[in-house]
């Protein structure tokens, strides 16, 4: 077995995973337990390099489970040795179970990272292909860790902050642990106050009603339009089907000033009716675009058969086209619901009466220095959870719908 640059790369890979592992796991430990620990990155890197060396020094096809286990053990041992049994700068006696779990996860994580990256890489010299493969694998691994962290961290902070009290927040901003010793009414105090004092139940209801009605109105407008653009011939059809999305070149802020003026004079400004006129205007073009793309993909023979059987166009739409287009309808409805639920600008500019606030407008009203931060985060959670649940439930439809038609182009 020759030793060459392959070993150097392996050591670097191991060091990288060791560093990342110690930082991530150390920070997570602090966030979850509230202990004032600081991971020692250099020690982590050394431990990771040691673990990677264990893997690499065995020829690629000879790496068995035993090698993997040895790598984990060596990484853990090196970590403990180089940090004098204080891998997170705090004595092991504090929250020993959590620290033990953290140490084990460190060993498993860094060794797994090194193992996957070093698959097939020899300790001697490797071909250009293999070197680039290693580089790509490292990038991908780091990428996974990076993207998952940046997506998870804000939401974790959002939820955990809503469960804390004001003093706790100011005292220890890194303590995002959940104090299970509290009673549920203490833990969820922010939420209880939101619903009893800040009228959030009503906001929730109003947002739901506005979003559902927006979906209905949008569908009523866009289904006939999409059918016309996809199935009927008329002058200007191609231009229309390609340029319907150009409407979105007009910034919403440009519309706010005239609409504010006109709606004030018509008495529609501080009303939900006004919102229900504006929201469909912003969603109909994209709904039409998505639906006409899908309609075009449906075989026209069925509709022609229906026409020959004596159905008029409306009948064809209801009895033939719509049943076939259910996935597209579902994804369009979902997308429009999401747009209406999340909408901020017009709700903010137009609604003054707290009795008709939507959730967006309600949460913004929590952003004052008189309202504690945990209430703001609790409001954010209340606004996010429904749309997340709906989205996760119907995720496949949304992904299909948003990308249908783009794949062919």
């Amino acid at each position: 077995m020759r030793i060459g640059f392959g070993l150097v790369f392996a050591l670097l890979t191991g060091a990288l995973w060791g560093a990342i592992g110690s930082v991530l796991i150390g920070i997570t430990l602090t966030l979850v337990t509230g202990l004032p620990g600081t991971p020692i990155v250099a020690a982590g890197a050394l431990a990771g390099a040691a673990g990677a060396a264990t893997i690499s020094l065995r020829s690629a096809h000879l790496r068995s489970l035993g090698v993997a286990i040895a790598s984990v053990l060596i990484a853990v041992l090196v970590l403990l040795a180089t940090t004098k049994m204080q891998p997170f700068s705090i004595a092991l006696s504090e929250a020993p179970i959590f620290q033990a779990i953290a140490i084990v996860l460190f060993g498993l994580g860094t060794s797994a990272g090194s193992w996957l990256c070093l698959k097939g890489i020899e300790p001697g010299s490797n071909s250009r292909y293999k070197r680039e493969l290693l580089l790509v694998r490292v990038f991908k691994g780091v990428g996974f860790v990076f993207f998952t962290s940046i997506v998870v961290l804000p939401f974790y902070v959002m939820v955990m902050t809503s469960l804390k009290s004001q003093q706790q927040l100011l005292l220890s901003p890194m303590d995002l642990s959940v104090n299970f010793a509290q009673s549920p009414s203490e833990l969820f105090r922010s939420y209880i106050e939101l619903f009893t004092q800040f009228n959030f139940g009503r906001f929730l209801l109003i947002s739901t009603i506005v979003s559902v009605f927006t979906v209905l109105i949008t569908l009523i407008f866009s289904i006939p339009g999409a059918y016309a653009v996809s199935r009927l011939k008329f002058p200007g059809r191609d231009l229309l089907s390609r340029s319907v999305l150009l409407i979105y070149m007009v910034p919403a802020i440009v519309l706010v000033i005239p609409l504010y003026a006109v709606f004030s004079q018509l008495g529609l400004r501080n009303t939900l009716t006004g919102l229900l006129i504006i929201y469909p205007a912003t969603t109909v073009p994209v709904a039409l675009y998505m639906l006409q793309g899908y309609f075009k993909g449906l075989p026209p023979e069925l509709e022609e058969a229906g026409l020959m059987d004596g159905l008029n166009r409306i009948g064809v739409i209801f009895k033939i086209t719509l049943p076939l287009a259910l996935p597209a309808l579902a994804s369009v409805s979902l997308y429009v619901f999401m747009i209406a639920w999340n909408e901020f600008l017009f709700a903010f500019m137009f609604l003054d009466d707290p009795n008709i606030f939507t959730l967006s407008r309600g949460v913004v009203s929590l952003n004052s220095s008189e309202v504690p931060r945990q209430h703001l985060m609790a409001g954010a959670v209340v606004a996010t959870i429904p749309i997340m649940v709906i989205f996760l439930w119907f995720e496949r439809f949304l992904v299909q719908g948003l990308t249908a038609g783009s794949v062919k182009g």
């Binding site: 600081t38 990428g143 008329f234 002058p235 005239p258 749309i387």
Partner: protein
């Protein structure tokens, strides 16, 4: 039989000519299509196109926020003397003034009804009476002018016993005032104002930086994330759903979460940085205009708040690029990759020569769409910083001028600039695309 059969040239003029325009069937279809599209046209016309034109209109008029409420006459009614003494006249005074301090009101008509039991003894010369109904006319009220109309009434014995205040019935007053929105007063001051201020060029520069860096960043991150999830593995659907969170969550939720997360004193991110000994004290991510960075002795002013806002933009919108790029990637057939593997091409080479050319189409579409959307973005920056610390883009400037400084005309002028800039960009982009294709 033979002599009537059409033969060659001589009978060409007897053959029916092809119709120009639409035949009756095609016409019916076109009318039906128009009917089906009518609601869409109507709502888009009313809510998007008309306000867009109205915005152009407002931008050339000196309109302030207060002008949205047209000047109107205001009246307050006072009763002097005693109502419960019979047969002694007491006056009722109507005090008029205009609601605007700058504009006159003309053709004012005041209507009121007196309660029964009061008889009119003397009428102000501007008023006439019809039984208990009073009608007063004032030709013109200058700005700031106050005018009092007095009517003297006498109570009967029954009224004096149980007086009903004449103030119970509110007077109806109407007048005509020049509405700045509809008169023919025009001005180019709004445009002069915004272009002459040096801060306009700062705002433009900020907008361009924000848009270009944000768009490119979202595309790059989206591509990276798509590469990660291109091969199937255990847990891929979970990760794919997870990566969409920043886009699906409401903007208020994520914006405020970022503000709390990056708070310089009580924010978790700063606490992590301090704990890991990266910095000594918390960084004011959203409040600091520039941070001085030391690069080997060279002091570089780094736009802190703007970069943080751009980072938020990339974080929030990379999922959309990721989704579209991933969908496109998964429709690329694996044959080419297999052939390249056989030929010994390395992963980087495969990406550069096979994946990238196929993605150029979706990448350019995404660039166009994201550029336009990011250029028009308002909610995010407004919620994160309110436009402070060097993050004021053109859209935030519209809000600032129209509602914070209350100059609707200037706000509309900035909105015109935004629209024209986007139009130019779209034109250049399509010309560039056409050149590329040919």
């Amino acid at each position: 039989m033979t002599s009537h059969m059409p033969l060659g040239g001589e009978d060409k003029k007897k053959l029916p000519r092809p119709r120009k325009g639409l035949g009756p069937m095609a016409k019916k279809e076109a009318i039906l299509a128009f009917q089906m599209l009518l609601p869409t046209f109507a709502i888009v016309f009313a809510i998007v196109l008309v306000p867009l034109l109205a915005n152009f209109w407002i931008s050339v008029k000196p309109v302030k926020l207060a002008d949205l409420r047209a000047p109107a006459p205001v009246v307050s009614e006072r009763v002097r003397g005693d109502m419960d003494v019979a047969d002694t006249p007491f006056p009722i005074e109507y005090r008029l003034r205009g609601s605007s301090r700058a504009k006159p009101i003309s053709d004012i008509v005041l209507l009121d009804t007196l309660p029964p039991g009061l008889s009119i003894t003397a009428l102000d010369p501007a008023c006439t009476a019809n039984g208990s109904n009073i009608r007063c006319e004032v030709a013109r009220l200058e700005p700031g002018e106050r005018k009092t109309l007095t009517i003297s009434v006498t109570a009967t014995a029954q009224f004096a016993a149980a007086p009903v205040s004449p103030r119970g019935s509110k007077p109806d007053i109407s007048g005509f005032a020049d509405n700045i929105l509809t008169n023919s007063e025009f001005t180019l001051d709004n445009f002069k104002r915004i272009f002459s201020a040096t801060e306009f060029w700062n705002v433009l520069w900020t907008t361009l930086t924000y848009t270009i860096v944000g768009t490119l960043g979202a595309l790059l991150f989206g591509m990276f994330a798509a590469q990660l999830l291109n091969t199937s593995f255990v847990g891929r659907p979970i990760l794919r759903g997870l990566f969409l969170f920043p886009y699906v969550a409401p903007v208020i939720a994520v914006a405020f979460t970022w503000v709390v997360l990056l708070d310089p004193f009580s924010g978790t991110f700063n606490a992590i940085l301090v704990r890991m000994n990266v910095v000594d004290a918390g960084i004011n991510f959203f409040g600091q205009r520039t941070a001085e960075l030391n690069f080997f002795g060279l002091v570089v002013p780094f736009p802190m708040a703007l970069s943080t806002v751009i980072a938020f933009e990339i974080w929030r919108y990379f999922p959309l690029s990721f989704l579209f790029i991933l969908a496109r990637m998964q429709s690329i057939s694996t044959d080419m990759y297999e052939a390249a593997e056989v030929d010994g091409a390395s992963p980087m080479q495969q990406f550069w020569h096979i994946s990238l050319p196929q993605l150029l189409g979706i990448l350019s579409t995404l660039f166009l769409l994201r550029f336009i959307w990011t250029f028009n973005k308002f909610d995010d920056i407004f919620l994160l910083t309110g436009g402070a610390a060097g993050t004021r883009t053109l859209t935030v400037d519209v809000y600032e001028q129209a509602f914070a400084i209350s100059n609707l005309g200037a706000g509309a002028a900035v909105a015109v600039v935004i629209f024209v800039a986007l139009l130019l960009f779209a034109l250049f982009f399509f010309r560039f695309l056409n050149q590329e294709e040919s």
